[in-house]
Amino acid sequence: MQPRLARLVVSTLVTLGILIALEIGTSALLPALGWYESRLAFNVVIILFMAIKVSTPVLPWLILALQMVHAAFSVEGWALGTLAGVLISVSAAYLKEILQFSSALATMAIVQVFQVAWWLLTAAIICLKLGSFEKFGLLFGNALPATIVLSLLSPLLFALLDRVWAVENEVGRTGVRV
């Protein structure tokens, strides 16, 4: 196994492990602690990290793998998030050069913008699937409060994933090539 491929496989498996732990946290631990109102979509933040910071030709397949695991925790399924994730990753690829993760605040702001784009996209896809945009505001608005919490947590999560994917800070601005 080539060193690059080995790193890709190991990093992917560790990332899937982190996602499973976070999904258990948001689906069982937080409700057990009394947080019922909204769920923290950690899969979105992890996919955003991959889209912005990991540069590999197999990125769409990694997004698909993350969504397959997410589907075990949510009836949302794998297809909706995969579609949104790949579209967001394509747009992030064009913006990589101008995205500056110079501070925690910058990371939060970038993650918030991309999350809003994600939920606008998924709400629109669900409405298209349902054939009616009647619930667009409801679907989008329902996801917003959790995005703020996720943005606040994103510097920590990004720092963790930087280590998993061995992203150097300087290189991280333009994405690490795996």
Binding site: A28, L83, L139
Partner: protein, 288 residues
């Protein structure tokens, strides 16, 4: 080098296109009202659901742990052991009180289940859906326990939903709070029919009620027994607001469900009797 970069870009584009096509196909096949669990999903659920169950059932211990920590921070060394002893006793007492409450709840459920006229299975809520757009609960009972797809789920307070996705030992319930779940309901006082639909935030709406109907705030809703999923007469909720200013021929009616989904711990899954199984038909594919 240039050739390599070009080839890499080509691979990226091809990968993006293939996964996009897969996702679009998957989405076109996706149903928001009923789904069969894939082998991969079954495997993941079988592995993670016991962890979810452990965390959910360990809530009392977790509460006690947090309480203990807060107490210990503010306690001097002199009375540390004494406080610990009191804390242990309190925890025991708390657990006994929890057992007493659970006993009370189960008795209520069992008493209710005797009246409902179906075979029932007691199940525990072990998890909640991790996406905001869906209001789904995970139960610690599955196909091996006799649960079937579209089995109605209730408590003694009222209707919870139906089994949407089924694994061997766990099942997911689409609650009435989810907009994808539609319940044919009947106003108990006026016998007016309508369709109850979830609107998130622990509320529902009653649709297709003629604006001439004399319904009032406080009117109770029960299942109409139409559609083959829910039995007739199960409490659904109560009318808490009526919007008579809406345009069109129907009223805007807000419903507060009878079940407090925040406090849901145990539920009853109504099992189909052999003769009733054949009569149950799934909803149409195009429905939300």
């Amino acid at each position: 080098m240039r050739r390599l970069i070009t080839e890499s870009s080509k691979i990226k584009i091809v990968n993006n296109l293939v996964v996009l096509v897969l996702a679009v196909y998957g989405l076109s096949q996706k149903r928001f009202d009923l789904e069969e669990m894939t082998l991969f999903q079954t495997l993941v659920v079988e592995v993670v659901a016991p962890v979810q169950k452990g965390i959910t059932s360990g809530r009392d211990e977790l509460d006690a742990l947090v309480d203990n920590y807060l107490r210990i921070v503010n306690t001097s060394k002199e009375n540390f052991h004494l406080k610990e002893k009191i804390s242990r006793l309190e925890r025991d007492l708390f657990q006994m009180e929890e057992i007493r409450r659970e006993n009370f709840r189960l008795k209520q459920l069992m008493r209710y289940s005797e009246d409902i006229g179906h075979d029932q299975l007691l199940a525990q809520v072990v998890g909640w859906d991790s996406a905001n757009q869906f209001k789904v609960l995970r139960l610690n009972r599955g196909e091996e326990d006799g649960v079937r797809l579209m089995s109605p789920v209730i408590t003694h307070h009222g209707l919870v939903g139906y089994v949407y996705r089924l694994g061997p030992r766990y099942s997911d319930v689409l609650t009435i709070l989810d907009p994808n779940n539609r319940v044919d309901a009947l106003l108990e006082r006026t016998r007016t029919h309508g369709i109850v639909e979830g609107v998130f935030n622990h509320l529902c709406t009653l649709k297709y009620v003629n604006r001439n109907e004399a319904i009032e705030v406080g009117d109770k809703l029960i299942t109409a027994g139409v559609g083959g999923i829910y039995p007739k007469g199960v409490k659904v909720g109560m009318v808490t607001a009526i919007d008579r200013e809406t345009a069109g021929m129907t009223l805007g009616v807000e419903i507060t469900p009878s079940v407090d989904f925040h406090k849901l711990e145990e539920v009853l899954v109504l099992l189909p009797r052999p003769a009733a199984t054949a009569a149950t038909t799934p909803p149409t594919k195009g429905s939300l």
